[in-house]
Symmetry: D2
Subunit: 370 residues, 4 copies
């Protein structure tokens, strides 16, 4: 018997909305013990003081603890909670619940299927954030998550979600060693960037990471990393999604890289790679589209295809908020859906101003497996 | 000799950036006396306290006054200044300068071309804003602008831009009669809505307007109105863009209606109607695409194709700001350009949550005239 | 034996920070079963999408449930949770934990002491929000809370805290009857205003409430109401603070009314009425000052002592956020402390632009009981 | 005959409101040729994309040019325009118009009066911003402004207003040499900080400035500098206000240093030093109070008198906006007025979290000259 990956996409009425997941369990459609990760798009600002992420974690962990007759702490040791704040523009708050069925049927002969692995780093000291130390710890966790998923070839990894900490005023004050920045908002970018370089290291996209590389040498990046920073955790949490012939089920994953924030073609290539049919305009068979995961980022050049954008100079709305709204619009144009997992801050995750996009699709509805 | 319409799209480095237009004049490419309207996307918040619009008007009027050896006041009597604040997401600040060459060559036999007309209402008392009185004054101005453009058939009108006033605390306090709302931000929607109903009235899309209809009966709308409210004016300013066989030149205009904020297909239909070729992904021959004008609005249902959006419940970023970022992303996905004139607040301008989209294209590059 | 009121003011490191309260319990300084209300200043935006309030409620209720071996639901039936979002300017996030010791010592002969009572309305249907129905339900709850505190004379009531619901897009869509407004942010003001009129009704400050009075006739108000709206509840929760000769302890309360947002003198009168000594500048014996509770609101006239303010016309920062920052500054100037419970939106709570201010002081340190 | 300084405080209805100043001129109360500086509190965000400052400069320069039959460029060569964005909380937008009457009557025997001097640096290259080069150029300008005012003793200088440039994405891209930061918002702090160190250098408060000192060694500061950064200029503009026995008139200036953002006592000391009487609460003889100028800044420790503030961790509202609202409240508590010139960002201007406060008073109403 092979393992089988499940991915439930559930609408969230608010950041603490556990009802849809509870309904799924009440219907017997999901055993809570199978859940390995919950990704949530929550409707906060996605920046330093976005407490919707911690609220969502508390709500989900509390609910699962009650259902599994254990404590929230034990739930959090086992389940990666990757809450990404910010549903600007048309983005729709939702949960992506990833589960693994141990005896999930027979693997399809000759057909690879979605495989999932998770791993965590140790708690990171404030001074490690945004530096090579964080990257190396992340790389180790990626390797552990690949091993957990039974994936050996880095080429079979299509998406690595990392949730990483940030520096708050409190943490900076408490740090024994000098931190990389005293600007709490800026620390989010450092943390995401170092984490992404860690993914690149684990996947062989780069050979080594130095402190100096982080946020400086943007030519080094991972095409498959998606990193999200939050105040609610102190370690890096890693979820690897890839393809494996050893897994069963009807889910597949594919990815591509958006060259800039309006790269509709890249999304279409990823949809095609996942076996999804496309008409002249939008996708009509939305049920085959299980999840879209994309990164959003303002280009540091201040331009998109030569035209000026104002994201980096806006002191009312943070740049990542603009970028999520924009990329959410482009993804919605491509897919006809607004419940995409678009997270902000794509430092070292794809090229400057662009970012990875991954598609999870259901094979049965979409045609022959890729 | 027939009249010929010109449309120059110019990047703006900031809201007071008159340099690109001055360069055009210095090169002899545009006679300032021919300008009839300047539409500007400025990088303010697009809401009540967006002074980038007034700043832009002051800069443009001052510069044109110096060039034409007259006063800013006289410039403003003649040139419609329609500044639309808000370049959220990837939208790029820019100017659309509309000019009319009186002796602009021979009209193309059998081929209609872009025709432009402008008109203004009298200054509107605060109590008229958002009510039938504003709609009727607007309708009269639309008819005057059509006459100025030489367009008789409302069916030949493809886009009516209206710039309308809003209520500030000062104006509310000064009003002798009760105003429609004491919420200054809300007054922008009332003003846009009443103005749009005025356009619908003039174009025969509805038969009559009542005070009660405004912002209540959203089934009544114009498919060709684009209304933008601003603190910097006290009257409605109307610019009609249509097609006429009596005009010369190489510009054409077409329009369609976005059913919702992510309606990529509607934009593609409008592009096709304007004769623009389309590849599988984005438009490559961008030079043929002269201007995109679209309205953005959050649906009052709180949903897009059934999925919740948070635009109406966000107290940090106003709903119109979210909507512009979103629609800007969809337009950029369709056209590969971010310098679209996407303005917010589409009350009675297209269906709830959607809005008109108009395309101005250059015929020579785009193929045979439509 | 008489009842004794306790008030613990505890700093909050984040909206879910239960640690200081847990430390108090661990030290044996507070029995969780005595807690009747928790007021929290949380660091969200204090507006519609401020989920820090719900997060705080969830954290506190969960923690108390674990400590009392019960469920969060049962905790919430008994303990009023009044989370007020918004710590703009210098305001410091904190908790005010109100407890009642049943056998709290002997009442001081001839000396009144702080008395506390709580009560809740039934869940309010969306159409009741902002209307007389909400006011009347609130008045009934105030009377019930007074009875619970053993206070008969409305003149002995110094502060009535009400936490009330708001309308979200979801609730509006679900309502069977027409709601008072479709603007979710505006609904907060309606809910606070109707609730305050209910307090005024119960305290005899007005004779009757009509739907039309709410937010229209601002000359009707309660000088002792403090209402705070939040998305996290569906009923009104009422906490009455007053003075009673039947209560023991060392806490007293006094109040005054700020005539406008910068009314330093009113705060000083309230401090004096609570028996607190004042030097030429700020209060030095801060330990005698147990709590400051004040309301903040932008004047609808757009002016403070004749000078224009921009709070009502700012589309980037909501007016209540400006007002909290301002009043927080004035309170800090008066008291030398930034952990004041300043909540926004003072509709019908004190005069237009002003609001009630209440001081809880410790008698022993402050001199003879008032 | 001695020179006499004039200071007109005028309410502004909007950032381009030149009407009150024009009215003054129309009444013959002010000769435009006497104006040496205009300080304006404008109602933008006070951060990078605050175009209300440039709008105000354009409006004022254009108006003065028309009145003096010259060009705006020539006006700007002569008149220092110091627009400070941000009127958060209760702050009231206003202008402070500083003029010098050459033959302004006899100097008061034994009585010093307000003296004004202005000077400008050369345009600063982007790489100089935030570094010792900017500080040294500023120090030179301060010395030139003191000479212009006829002040020799740095101890007679009470307030030095500096308007300094910031780095935008455009300027960063155009710079030949490495800039101090690529974060445009952060560049404002660097520019203010280096400018303030320049003032400290000129006034003998420090001995030397190094690149490393800027924003790092906050123990070095000027107690009399007030620096404000804006996108609308490329050089530093300096206005020195001091006391001189060689000047005539009825205006005096005094200053003090707020130790933190809620230091009411410091404001009261400055009021007293300027000869203003004080009652127990607020100042009643407001006409004697001509102007209040103060700096606002969040403490980098994240605390005010030991209590946490959230200014530095708020990603919705920039820290300087919080700080201005707070200090504006404290100043209003002290003076009973909201039209104080409170500007944000007090890096190296007073101690961390505090800042200078200066009072200009009219002697006749306030009693004997100090």
């Amino acid at each position: 018997m092979a393992r089988r990956a499940l991915l439930h996409r559930l609408a969230a009425a608010h950041p603490g909305d556990t009802a849809p997941l509870e309904a799924l369990m009440d219907q017997g459609a999901l055993d809570p013990r199978l859940i390995v990760a919950i990704l949530g798009k929550t409707e906060g600002n996605g920046c330093v003081n976005d407490f919707t992420r911690a609220y969502a974690v508390q709500a989900m962990a509390g609910m699962l603890a009650r259902r599994m007759l254990t404590t929230p702490e034990i739930v959090l040791e086992k389940v990666a909670m990757v809450m990404s704040g910010g549903t600007e523009g048309g983005l729709s708050p939702h949960w992506l619940v990833l589960s693994v069925v141990p005896d999930g049927g027979e693997a399809t002969p000759g057909g690879a299927r979605l495989a999932i692995g998770t791993a965590f780093t140790e708690p990171l000291p404030p001074a490690a954030i945004g530096r090579a130390a964080q990257a190396e710890a992340t790389a180790e966790a990626v390797r552990a998550a690949m091993a957990a998923a039974g994936i050996e070839d880095p080429g079979s990894v299509h998406y690595v979600q990392v949730k990483c900490p940030l520096l708050t005023s409190e943490r900076i004050a408490a740090s024994e060693d000098p931190v990389v920045t005293h600007d709490t908002y800026a620390s989010m970018g450092f943390s995401r960037g170092a984490s992404a370089l860690g993914v690149a290291l684990a996947l062989g996209e780069i050979d080594a990471v130095t402190d100096e590389m982080v946020l400086r040498d943007l030519s080094r990046f991972s095409a498959r990393a998606a990193c999200s920073a939050g105040v609610e955790l102190a370690r890096n949490e890693v979820v690897v999604l890839g393809m494996s012939q050893d897994w069963a089920g009807d889910l597949v994953i594919a990815h591509d890289v958006m060259a800039d924030a309006i790269d509709l073609d890249a999304i279409r290539r990823a949809l095609a790679a996942a076996g999804l049919p496309q008409g002249p305009g939008q996708l009509t068979e939305a049920e085959a589209l299980v999840a879209v995961l994309a990164k959003a980022e303002p280009s540091t050049t201040g331009r998109i295809r030569g035209l000026r954008h104002i994201m980096n100079d806006d002191s009312d709305i943070n740049a990542t908020r603009h970028a999520r709204a924009l990329v959410g619009g482009v993804v919605a144009a491509a897919t006809g859906r607004t419940d995409a997992f678009v997270s902000g801050g794509a430092e070292h995750q794809g090229p400057d101003g662009g970012g990875p996009v991954a598609i999870v699709a259901r094979v049965a509805a979409a045609g022959p497996p890729p």
